[in-house]
């Protein structure tokens, strides 16, 4: 077998989660684009319409999970791209900390916004 080029550790949690979130995102990203550009149109979006969709608990949960999965997948992807690029040592640890904080802030803000849209907050 040829040398593996991936920086992911096969069998590792990060490697597996990147693929599990990928499979979930294939469906949710396609659904999101389809619903908000082809069923509803982006130029017709109103707060009332958003509120109505987000009041549906199934939709709210789907969107929040979509956000969490996308944030993890994206931030983990960026981190591994930089590791592939040769990032190591202290800069690697700093980048991991900065990306983790940015990802957590994104998830926190996005979840808060979703709950406000739902009317829960």
């Amino acid at each position: 077998m040829a040398e593996r080029y991936s920086s992911f550790t096969p069998g590792g949690t990060g490697w597996l989660l990147q693929r599990v979130t990928a499979a979930f995102l294939v469906v949710t990203l396609a659904f999101h684009f389809f619903l908000l550009h082809f069923v509803n149109h982006a130029y017709e979006i109103t707060f009332a319409g958003t509120q109505m969709r987000m009041e549906n608990v199934g939709y709210l949960i789907t969107m929040v999970l979509f956000l969490w999965a996308a944030a993890f997948h994206g931030v983990n992807g960026v981190y591994n791209a930089l590791v592939n690029q040769g990032l190591s040592g202290t800069p690697k640890r700093i980048v991991l900390a900065v990306l983790s904080l940015a990802g957590l802030a994104l998830v926190a803000q996005g979840t808060y916004v979703a709950l406000v849209m739902n009317g829960m907050i």
Binding site: A42, Y43, L67, V75, V78, A81, Q85, G86, V116, G119
Partner: protein, 141 residues
């Protein structure tokens, strides 16, 4: 076990003329990934206008809340519509190539990985072109 060798940095883009389809797929997947995560941060920032809109029922009913006016203001711009088409192209390619990668990880289709990359490109182009009329509806109106 395979023998280990020093392959150097695989991101030596100066070698781009030597790149095989699999390498271009890898580069495009990375490029589209960077755009998508960058956009996600922007998207949540724009949608955060909901925080200023919530609770003002009169304005919401009239469609004059900050969330509605911001989104509709942005959607009125031709540039935003063009960027949306670009975002669709980026998302569709990332999805299709992502499915291709998941399949390869599962041991399916490795021998046809170059063909599946070309198919990803063609389907992305077809979906993008077919979506242009939908994305451009009512722009500037």
């Amino acid at each position: 076990m395979s023998e280990s060798y020093n392959r150097g940095l695989i991101e030596d883009f100066g070698r781009w003329r030597e790149f095989a389809p699999g390498m271009w797929a890898w580069i495009l997947h990375k490029f589209t990934g960077w755009i998508l995560i960058g956009y996600l941060f922007t998207h949540i920032a724009v949608l955060s206008n909901a925080l200023g809109a919530a609770g003002n029922e009169a304005k919401i009913a009239a469609g004059e809340d900050i969330y509605t006016t911001t989104l509709q203001g942005l959607e009125g711009l031709f540039l935003i519509r063009v960027l949306e088409v670009g975002l669709l192209a980026v998302a569709v390619f990332h999805i299709l190539n992502g499915v291709r990668l998941l399949m390869i990880d599962l041991g399916i289709g490795l021998e046809a990985q170059d063909k599946s990359f070309y198919i990803s490109l063609v389907v992305t182009a077809a979906i993008t072109v077919a979506s242009v009329p939908t994305f451009m509806t009512g722009v500037g109106a």
